[in-house]
Amino acid sequence: MSKIVEVGPAGYMPQSAPSMGVELAPEGSALLYGNTVTPEEAMRDAAIALLTRKNPTIFPGPQVLWDWKEDVAEKSAAILDLASEIPNCKIIPMPDYRPKYPKIDVKAEINPNHPNLTILDNRIEACIFVGVHCHYANLTLRMIRAGTNCYTVALCAYMGHEEAMASIRDLHASDIAKFKEIVIEERNKLGIKWETTLPPENPSLPKEDNSTLSPADYGEYRSLIMTKKGEHITDSE
C-alpha cells in the first residue's frame, strides 16, 4: 500500500490530505494512510502503532467528555476500557477549543490551536482523537502531521478524517469495543505482557478538596454551574 498520508513531521506548511487527493472513506470503510480499507485493517495498523510507539495517548474531546447525548456515556466507558488495554496509555483531554494563553498545561490538556506543545512535551508518538468536533479535529490532525512524528488515529462519529493515519467513521461504542479486542489480539501477537492498573496521579494537578467547592473553583467552566440566587460572579474573561 502506498502511503499518501504519512507520519510526520511533514514540514513547515504541508499540503492538506484532501488536496493530495485523499477522499473520506465511504460508509462501511475506513482510511489508512489516505487509502480506503476495511475498518479492521485500519484498526490493526492503529493498534500496532499504539502498542509499539512511545507514550500512546488518547485525546478525548468535548463530545465524549460530557454526558450530553444518549449514546455518549456508553461510548466514553468504552474509551476507558480501550485505554486500559493499551500499556501505559495516557488520557489527555481536549475540553474546549480556545487557545490557552498565556500558557497551556501540557500535562493536563491539549488544544487545537497549539497541539504540538502537548504532543512534543509529552513525547507522544501515537494518539487517538475521539469526540473532537470534526472541524477542530481536522485542524489539529494536520498540525500534528506537520510538526511531530506522532501516528494519529481518528475515531469519528461522522465521516472520519483524511489527515489521520488511521480513520474510523460512524463510530459507536461497539466499534470501540471491537478496536479494544483487536488491541488485545495484536498485543498478544507482539508478546507484550500487560495488566491493567489504575493510572498514576497527574503531578501537575493539585489535590482536590471537594468539600469546599465554589463556582470560582470551576474556572473557565464555571458557567456550567448554576449560580445561586443573588450570587454575582464579578470576574470575567
Binding site: 506548511m13 474546549d96 480556545r98 506543545l117 485542524l139 506537520a146 461522522y158
Partner: protein
C-alpha cells in the same frame, strides 16, 4: 405578522434525494424569483433575513409570502446587507436552517460578513440574483459580482434557468449542511433574464419538505444552551503574534477549501455533476455558465443544424471548480468559446487556468451592463473560429 397568526402546516419530511429525484413533479410556468421562493418553501427553512435590492427584492418578497403562509418559522428585514449577512452568521450559531438573497451592490456591501461565513462554518444558503455593481448606477443584470465571491470559500452554483434555480436552491441546503462540507452555498442566477422571466419548472408537491435541520450533526459545537459542549467558545480569535497562531489560521483556511472540494461528491449526487456536456470531441466547444449557458445551448443547436463540429459545456458548479471534468470535456477541442455576462471574463480565466493548453480559449464573447447576449454573437465566434464565411453583421 406574529407567528401566532400564521397557519401551522403539517408537511411530510423527506430526504433530499427523494425530493429531487423521486417525488412526482408537476409542470408550472413561473419566474426565476418564484422558482427560488418555491424551493425555499420546500426546504424547511427556519429563518430568512434580507434587505431588499432590485432584482433580489422579487425573491425576498415572495419568501415573505412563504413566511406568512407558515412555511418559514421566522423572517425579518435587516437594516442593510452587512447587517443581514452578520445576522445570518449569528442565527447560524443558534443551529437553524437559513436563507438570504441579495444582488450586485448588496452583495458587495455584505461581502465582509459573507467572506467570514465559511471560516465560521455557517451552512446558510445565499441567493445571488446578479446585477451591475459598478457606477453609474444601474439595476440591470451583469454577473461581475460573482468574481468577488470566487475566493470567499463558499460553494457556488450558477443556474441557467428557472428550473435550475429551483433545483439548485433546494439541493444547496443539503450540500451546505453535510458535516464534511458545512460552509455556505451560493446559488447565483441572472437578475431579470431569469428572475423576472417565466419558464417551465417541474416542482414536487409543497406538502413535501426537506427533513428538519439537525444542529448537532455539525463539525463545530452546536449552540444548544441545555447541553454542555455548547458552552464552548467557537472560533476563538487566534491573533497572537507567534508561529502557532499563524499555523492554526493557515490550517483553518486549508480546511475551508477542503470542505469546499468535499462538496463535489454531493454536486454529483444531487445535481448529476458539476458540468453538462454535449458533443464532446468537437473542434469547437462553447463553455458557459448561468443564463449565458442558455444562449450557448441555442448556438450549439444552430451549429448542429448546420452540421458544424461544435460541442457545448454548461458549468453548473463554479466552486468547487470542476477542473478535472472541464479538462476531460475540452481535451479534443481546438478552440473554446466562453460567452459571459461580465466585462472581466472570470469564467474564461478559470477555464484557461484549468486546462494545459489555455491558449485555445477565446476571450468572449462578453456582454455587460445589462445587455442581452444574442445567439448571433456566439455564432459569429463559431464561424470565425472555424474559418467559415458568414454574413453576420453585429
Amino acid at each position: 405578522m406574529s407567528a401566532m397568526t400564521r397557519p401551522v402546516l403539517n408537511k411530510k419530511q423527506v430526504e433530499m434525494n427523494y425530493l429531487l429525484h423521486e417525488a412526482p413533479r408537476e409542470k408550472h410556468f413561473i419566474t426565476g424569483a418564484q422558482a427560488m421562493s418555491e424551493a425555499v418553501k420546500r426546504a424547511n427553512v427556519d429563518m430568512a433575513i434580507a434587505y431588499p435590492i432590485t432584482p433580489q427584492s422579487e425573491v425576498m418578497h415572495l419568501v415573505g409570502d412563504v413566511f406568512a403562509q407558515g412555511h418559514i418559522k421566522e423572517y425579518y428585514r435587516a437594516e442593510e446587507e452587512l447587517g443581514t449577512m452578520s445576522a445570518i452568521a449569528g442565527a447560524s450559531r443558534a443551529g437553524v436552517r437559513l436563507f438570504t438573497a441579495t444582488s450586485g451592490p448588496g452583495l458587495i456591501r455584505g461581502l465582509e460578513a459573507i467572506a467570514s461565513w465559511p471560516g465560521h462554518r455557517v451552512p446558510a444558503v445565499l441567493g445571488i440574483l446578479t446585477r451591475v455593481i459598478n457606477a453609474p448606477l444601474s439595476i440591470q443584470p451583469d454577473n461581475l459580482e460573482m468574481a468577488y465571491m470566487l475566493y470567499s470559500g463558499a460553494v457556488m452554483l450558477h443556474a441557467e434557468n428557472q428550473q435550475d434555480t429551483f433545483d439548485f436552491t433546494l439541493a444547496a441546503f443539503a450540500i451546505a449542511e453535510k458535516v464534511d462540507v458545512y460552509i455556505p452555498v451560493a446559488v447565483a442566477t441572472e437578475g431579470f433574464f431569469v428572475t423576472h422571466a417565466k419558464g417551465y419548472v417541474n416542482m414536487m408537491s409543497e406538502d413535501l419538505v426537506y427533513k428538519e435541520f439537525d444542529p448537532v450533526a455539525s463539525p463545530v459545537p452546536a449552540m444548544d444552551n441545555e447541553t454542555p459542549p455548547a458552552r464552548i467558545q467557537r472560533d476563538a480569535p487566534v491573533q497572537k503574534s507567534n508561529f502557532m497562531s499563524y499555523l492554526i489560521h493557515s490550517v483553518w483556511q486549508q480546511e475551508i477549501w477542503d470542505s469546499n472540494s468535499r462538496a463535489m461528491k454531493y454536486i454529483y449526487e444531487y445535481l448529476g455533476g458539476p458540468i453538462e456536456v454535449q458533443n464532446p470531441g468537437s473542434d469547437i466547444m462553447i463553455l458557459a455558465s448561468g443564463c449565458a449557458a442558455a444562449q450557448a445551448r441555442e448556438a450549439h443547436r444552430y451549429a448542429q443544424e448546420e452540421g458544424l463540429s461544435v460541442g457545448f459545456v454548461k458549468v453548473k458548479a463554479i466552486r468547487p471548480f470542476p477542473k478535472n471534468e472541464i479538462r476531460e470535456a475540452l481535451k479534443s477541442a481546438k478552440k473554446v468559446i466562453v460567452p459571459e455576462h461580465n466585462i472581466v471574463g472570470w469564467l474564461c480565466t478559470e477555464v484557461k487556468a484549468a486546462i494545459p493548453n489555455g491558449g485555445i480559449v477565446l476571450e468572449g464573447p462578453r456582454v455587460f451592463g445589462g445587455m442581452t447576449l444574442p445567439v448571433e454573437l456566439i455564432m459569429f465566434e463559431i464561424y470565425e473560429a472555424l474559418g467559415i464565411e458568414h454574413n453576420i453583421k453585429l
